[in-house]
């Protein structure tokens, strides 16, 4: 790794037939109502340019991620990518209707899961890393067993595309958001839908459980972020800001005190939801995000925030100063998914160009 560029030339160990699909029939994580897209796009100022201090790097204080592997094989945009909680695997879900699991250390393909009849929008790992859940445009959620490669459950109930989903920390429930504007809570043992929350007035673009599983946060293109009590299914709070654009991704901070929400005005906001009415503590700017639901992630030490961008790059911000610390370029199209490794300084990203890339922070590896 002596070269300074971050191009994907660095020894991809796993060479699969890479199918270049110039325009994949991909609408999974894209707002497909033209009205919304155009409104957002037209009202957008060009994203402000922030100083990028890539060459002023001080050892130990700045991330220095370099491309490690490029994983090819998906025949369509890769909408979501996640490390398993035990750090051994990477799961990637794609518009090509498949879920692929890769070895996080070597980048080798481990398993292909096929059964969905339409593109997959999101994938989630169970806390024990044994089970995967995928949400698809075929309106179903499917559970897969990693070891056997079998599909073990099919959760039916959503009336439209399943957009996002997550396991609870106990591993007995799944929360899912859908284009049918509802949030559903599922019992994964029986596969029954436990609760249907009439959550939003537009597609639900993000759902997440808090670290102890007692609350759920959901966000939607209806510009609202709502917090729910898992047990009673009741709305506890709604976060709203004047002229908040459609919200495309939401997650609780690792300690559950804050909420990170990406919005389609190319900004990511960190909310203190406990304060009266909710307060935005930080706004992270610099990337481009006006059209797609792009994932954001926290680094495991809580110092950085990662996000994909529509200019085919991955942005890394300092949580406190909001400064862009590093921009990773190598993907050839919109970066949709990013995820941080649970115990090492590794980053994985997925893109509309059909590839998954693993990045390593060189300072520490």
């Amino acid at each position: 790794m002596d070269s300074n560029d971050t191009d994907g030339r660095l020894s991809p160990p796993f060479k699969r037939q890479r199918t270049v699909s110039p325009s994949p029939p991909f609408r999974d994580r894209e707002i497909f109502e033209d009205a919304v897209t155009s409104r957002v796009a037209s009202s957008l100022p060009s994203p402000p340019t922030l100083p990028v201090a890539n060459d002023l790097r001080k050892p130990g204080t700045r991330p220095n991620y370099r491309l490690k592997y490029t994983l090819t094989g998906h025949n369509g945009g890769v909408s979501s990518v996640k490390f398993s909680p035990d750090g051994k695997w990477i799961a990637s879900a794609s518009a090509d209707k498949t879920l692929r699991v890769w070895d996080a250390r070597t980048g080798e393909l481990e398993q292909i899961f096929e059964a969905h009849t339409a593109g997959i929008s999101d994938v989630a790992w169970s806390p024990d890393s044994k089970t995967l859940a995928t949400g698809s445009d075929d309106k179903t959620i499917r559970l897969w067993e990693l070891k056997s490669g079998r599909m073990i459950r099919i959760l039916k109930g959503h009336h439209n595309y399943v957009y996002c989903l997550n396991f609870n920390p106990q591993g007995n429930m799944i929360v899912s958001g859908s284009y049918d504007e509802a949030v559903r809570i599922w019992d994964i043992r029986s596969g029954n839908c436990q609760k249907t929350l009439p959550a939003h007035q537009d597609p639900v673009s993000g759902v997440d459980f808090i670290r102890d599983g007692t609350m759920i946060v959901s966000c939607s293109h209806d510009k609202l972020i709502r917090i729910w009590d898992t047990n009673t299914g009741q709305c506890l709070k709604t976060l709203v800001e004047e002229e908040l654009p459609p919200v495309s991704c939401v997650r609780f901070s690792p300690n559950g005190k804050y909420i990170l929400a990406s919005t389609l005005d190319s900004s990511i906001r960190l909310w203190d939801y406990l304060r009266d009415g909710g307060k935005v503590l930080k706004t992270y700017l610099g990337h481009v995000n006006a059209k797609y639901s792009i994932f954001s992630a926290f680094s495991r030490d809580g110092k950085y925030i990662f996000s994909g961008s529509e200019d085919a790059a991955i942005y890394i911000w300092d949580v406190q100063t909001k400064e862009v610390l590093q921009i990773l370029r190598s993907h050839e199209d919109v970066v949709l998914g990013v995820n941080a490794h649970p115990s090492e300084n590794l980053l994985v990203s997925s893109s509309l160009d059909g590839t998954v890339k693993i990045w390593a922070d060189e300072e520490t590896t």
Binding site: R189, L236, T238, Y258, G302, Q320
Partner: protein
């Protein structure tokens, strides 16, 4: 963590008020929550032990091992082990990591009650039909059984029953049976209750009875300790429930038990209907008690401060046996004697509509709105945005946890049972369908009549 956002009014409701839902998977004879309250163990009449997920109402595990009705279930402190006792003369210690039978302990007769030591899952106390209670040590491959005394401590006997000839009272006490063996919260002492109404406190390490008190003249059939370990409740055949403050025992008390205060605080009874109580429990804080009623369908709740009745829970159309109070939530679970269904009562939480529309406030009466000075002033948006971004200089900590109430750090570390996904397949031979909170209510009455008769038979035996 939801406490920070929850409605303070709904939080102040600390006992259940409405029937919530029922669970059904076979004929349940006893029900008990684990300490964290995420699992509910149900012992069935056919000897199977079933675990329910409290949150989802789904089946979490099915464990087969007993051949006759399960009498009691005790959870280990970390929730990993479970001890079940049964009429088939066995106690089984289950390891919930894989659902295996870690140890099977056989006795000469049916086991009424068995409880695990609060910090050591290799030690338990058991009350046996027509036998002495036993303290059983299974830490070594060879089971070590230590006999515990049913007889009350001598000195107190004499001082209380001076009128009766000592020989006669001793003879009748000798016929007494211990029906309940409890550990105190630290496990230093065993509290036993007998058919003669005696409560004995036995030192666990030396197995000597250090204190005895006769709280009633009739048989004590249920005794329970609150989660806090400070209150005891006794249910006896004289139709009266009694609560006792559990004394804090020191080493001096062992030497000289005369200083131990062990007095009935309150008695609870239904004077009008003269009801027997089938079973009872204390809320985790000790503020409330609940009891199921004999030949009646209700669960009564009293508060313990003044001893007044606060609620009669209705719902099922059958007599209820076991009751258990959830360790953290205002929730009571009870098993039906006839159908073996498990009934759950909880609180009713109305949706606060202001949570859905944050711009609105809920007010009691009309309030005249006063416009703020700069409320509708024109402001330059770009400038405002810039000013707002500049203000975002607060330090945020995304990782650190503080020890606010509601953050159960200790419990997060404790053991969690793996989620099984193939449980439905492993239980195909069961013809009884599970009925969760959302599922339809189709059920089969399986041996309901005989099971109820069996239960009654046991009750009669206990009363003798």
């Amino acid at each position: 963590m939801n406490l920070s956002l929850a409605d303070p009014f709904s939080l102040s409701q600390d006992y259940p008020e409405v029937f919530s839902h029922s669970l059904h998977y076979g004929h349940s004879s006893c029900v008990i929550f684990n300490r964290r309250g995420d699992l509910l163990a149900s012992g069935r009449h056919d000897g199977t032990v079933v675990l329910f997920d409290v949150e989802t109402g789904g089946l979490a595990r099915i464990m087969r091992g007993h051949t006759r009705s399960v009498q009691s279930i005790s959870w280990s402190h970390d929730g990993r082990y479970l001890l079940s006792s049964s009429l088939d003369c066995k106690c089984i210690l289950w390891d919930l990591e894989d659902g295996s039978r870690k140890r099977i302990i056989r006795f000469e007769a049916a086991v009424y009650y068995a409880e695990l030591h609060p910090s050591d899952h290799n030690l338990f106390a058991a009350a046996i039909h027509e036998d002495h209670p036993w303290l059983v040590d299974i830490s070594t491959p060879k089971t070590k059984r230590i006999k515990l005394s049913t007889l009350p401590r001598k000195s107190t006997t004499e001082s209380e029953d001076e009128a009766a000839p000592p020989s006669k009272s001793a003879a009748s006490d000798a016929k007494a049976l211990t029906l309940i063996t409890l550990f105190d919260s630290m496990g230093q002492y065993i509290i036993t209750a007998t058919t003669r109404g005696w409560v004995n406190i036995i030192h666990t390490a030396t197995q000597t009875t250090i204190f005895s008190s006769r709280v009633t003249k009739s048989a004590i059939v249920t005794a329970r300790l609150s989660m806090s370990g400070r209150s005891l409740i006794f249910n006896s055949r004289d139709r009266i429930l009694r609560t006792v403050h559990m004394p804090a025992l020191t080493d001096e008390d062992i030497e000289d038990p005369s200083g131990i205060l062990f007095q009935v605080e309150h008695t609870y009874q239904d004077l009008v209907n003269r009801l027997y109580w089938n079973h009872c429990d204390i809320s985790p804080t000790g503020e409330y008690i609940c009891a199921s009623t004999y030949m009646n369908h209700d669960v009564y709740i009293w508060e313990t401060n003044k001893g007044s009745l606060v609620k009669i829970l209705e719902g099922p159309k059958e007599e209820l046996g076991f009751v258990d109070w959830h360790p953290t939530r205002p929730m009571i679970v009870a098993s039906g004697l006839e159908t073996g269904r498990i009934y759950i009562w909880a609180t009713n939480n109305p949706q606060r509509w202001s949570a859905l529309a944050p711009d609105f406030q809920e007010v009691e009466e009309n309030v005249e709105y006063i416009e703020k000075e700069d409320e509708f002033d024109y402001k330059d948006r770009a400038e405002m945005t810039k000013a707002r971004l500049d203000r975002e200089d607060e330090e945020v900590d995304l990782i650190g946890m503080d020890d606010a109430p509601g953050n159960f750090r200790e419990e997060e570390k404790s053991w969690t049972m793996p989620v099984l996904l193939d449980i439905e397949e492993s239980s195909e031979d069961d013809d009884v369908k599970i009925v969760g909170p959302t599922a339809a209510t189709s059920q089969k009455k399986k041996k309901a009549g005989t099971a109820a008769a069996e239960k009654k038979g046991k009750k009669r035996k206990a009363r003798d």
